[in-house]
């Protein structure tokens, strides 16, 4: 078969930029990857202006977004966040990924007035949020719940991101029911990853992870009211394979997705690498927007050594992995934090979140066969 197309090198234009308004987070979740989350280092308006100089131009030609993230953006306060948002034109979509604990009526008014799209981080019903605590070790869930209640009171649509520490059958249907009740319109499921300062083991029993995804597929199918990211992508890939269009599915080039840190330093591809240093790779940054424009930094992405190595890793995936057309070659941070380098292929993360996902969805499909015949390879 011809090798799958797409994901060849990095695009010069990102579809979104992750911006870190502050390094601070008011929580201290056990699985968090952010190294500076207890310090309040704030982005200057000059950094936001420098990003907006390119971002406003990109938005004139296509869809372009800013995601306020990487630290708890609401911890920066409304006044400061407003000042950072101001340089961006109305054509730039603005998003916030938040733990929701600080959201109150005033924040909801702020979101509505600025058309800021909200995505909350919540891991399911209260007992699934045991890893989410503040620095005093107090459970964050009651505050998360209050924040989400405020969003609902104000009629603000929101998405949710859920970290699953231990994917297993029995949990998926419960999670899906929870998020249906919660009232989000979009849901993303992230199996916990070993990255950043989170060194927890992310190896799981393959059959359990597969069964988790199969159960989630069945739960979604019974009531497909949510846009469930993992299912949507799986089904679109499966659809494309059946209709012979799978080769058009992956982006032609990798999205560089710059993360702009509080100080203006730019890290490509993986926000999880921002703020980190390695003896061999340095600080992973490709430069600083206060010295050179973002579009200039994106013109020579593989000039940053690890980025070139990552592109080689994607090519190694293309040449060796039958899931490449679905996956697109995995994430830089997972490679680094699992392998210590960027040019490898399979990771625990890609097994949990790509391979077992697709296999789990196929298991669900097979279970609907008359007699529910199982996967022949497992027989």
């Amino acid at each position: 078969m011809a090798l799958v197309n797409g994901m060849r090198g990095l695009s010069r234009v990102p579809s979104y930029v992750v911006m870190q308004p502050t390094t601070l987070c008011n929580l201290d979740c056990a699985y968090c990857y952010l190294p500076l989350r207890s310090a309040d280092r704030r982005m200057s308006v000059a950094v936001a202006r420098a990003v907006a100089a390119d971002g406003n131009e990109w938005a004139r030609h296509g869809r372009f977004s800013v995601v306020w993230h990487a630290g708890e953006p609401t911890a920066a306060g409304r006044e400061h966040l407003a000042a950072l948002m101001a340089p961006f034109s109305a054509g730039v979509e603005q998003h916030i990924q938040t733990n929701a604990t600080l959201i109150d009526d005033a924040w909801c008014e702020f979101f509505a007035a600025r058309r800021l799209r909200v995505s909350v981080s919540v891991d399911g019903p209260p007992d699934c949020n045991d890893d989410r605590v503040d620095r005093a070790g107090r459970a964050a869930y009651p505050r998360i719940e209050r924040g989400i209640a405020a969003l609902r009171r104000h009629g603000l649509p929101f998405a949710a991101l859920c970290v699953v520490a231990d994917p297993r059958p029995g949990l998926a249907a419960r999670l899906y029911d929870y998020f249906l009740d919660l009232g989000c319109d979009t849901l993303g499921i992230n199996v916990e990853e070993r990255e950043g300062v989170n060194g927890r083991d992310n190896r799981h029993d393959a059959a359990a992870v597969r069964a988790f995804w199969a159960e989630l597929a069945a739960a979604w199918r019974a009531r497909p009211r949510l846009h469930l990211r993992e299912l949507e992508w799986s089904l679109r890939y499966l659809d494309a394979v059946l209709s012979g269009t799978a080769d058009d599915l992956l982006p032609r080039q990798l999205d560089p997705i710059p993360t702009v840190g509080w100080d203006g330093a730019v890290v490509l591809l993986s926000p999880e690498l921002a703020g980190f240093t390695d003896a061999g790779y340095g600080d992973f940054s490709s430069g600083n927007v206060l010295d050179r424009g973002l579009s200039e930094l994106l013109a020579q992405p593989t000039g940053t050594r690890w980025v070139g190595e990552f592109v080689q890793g994607v090519e190694a995936c293309r040449a060796s992995c039958p899931y490449f057309g679905f996956c697109g070659g995995g994430h830089a941070a997972n490679r680094y934090f699992e392998h210590g380098r960027f040019d490898g292929t399979e990771t625990e993360h890609c097994r949990n979140s790509k391979i077992h996902l697709l296999e789990g969805v196929l298991d669900h499909v097979r279970s609907t066969r008359p007699g529910g015949s199982p996967d022949p390879r497992r027989a």
Binding site: S15, V67, P224, H227, G325
Partner: protein, 64 residues
């Protein structure tokens, strides 16, 4: 089909009959969701652009 790179595609084709109804349900569900009032202002976030772009950029390298 003996190329190991084709194994996944082969097993997908193998379940075509069961897959087609699921894909139709998914299409109908997408339509139902976009018909909901206020769907234009939905929270589909930057890491999930793909209702609006054909390239699925945000599946890969999304922030978490």
């Amino acid at each position: 089909m003996s190329d190991p790179l084709d194994l996944v595609v082969a097993q997908i084709r193998d379940v075509r009959d069961e897959l087609v109804p699921l894909l139709e349900e998914a299409r109908a569900a997408r339509l139902a969701r976009s018909e909901e009032p206020g769907a234009d202002s939905g929270a589909v976030c930057a890491w999930n652009h793909f209702e609006n772009i054909p390239t699925f950029f945000n599946w890969n390298n999304r922030p978490r």
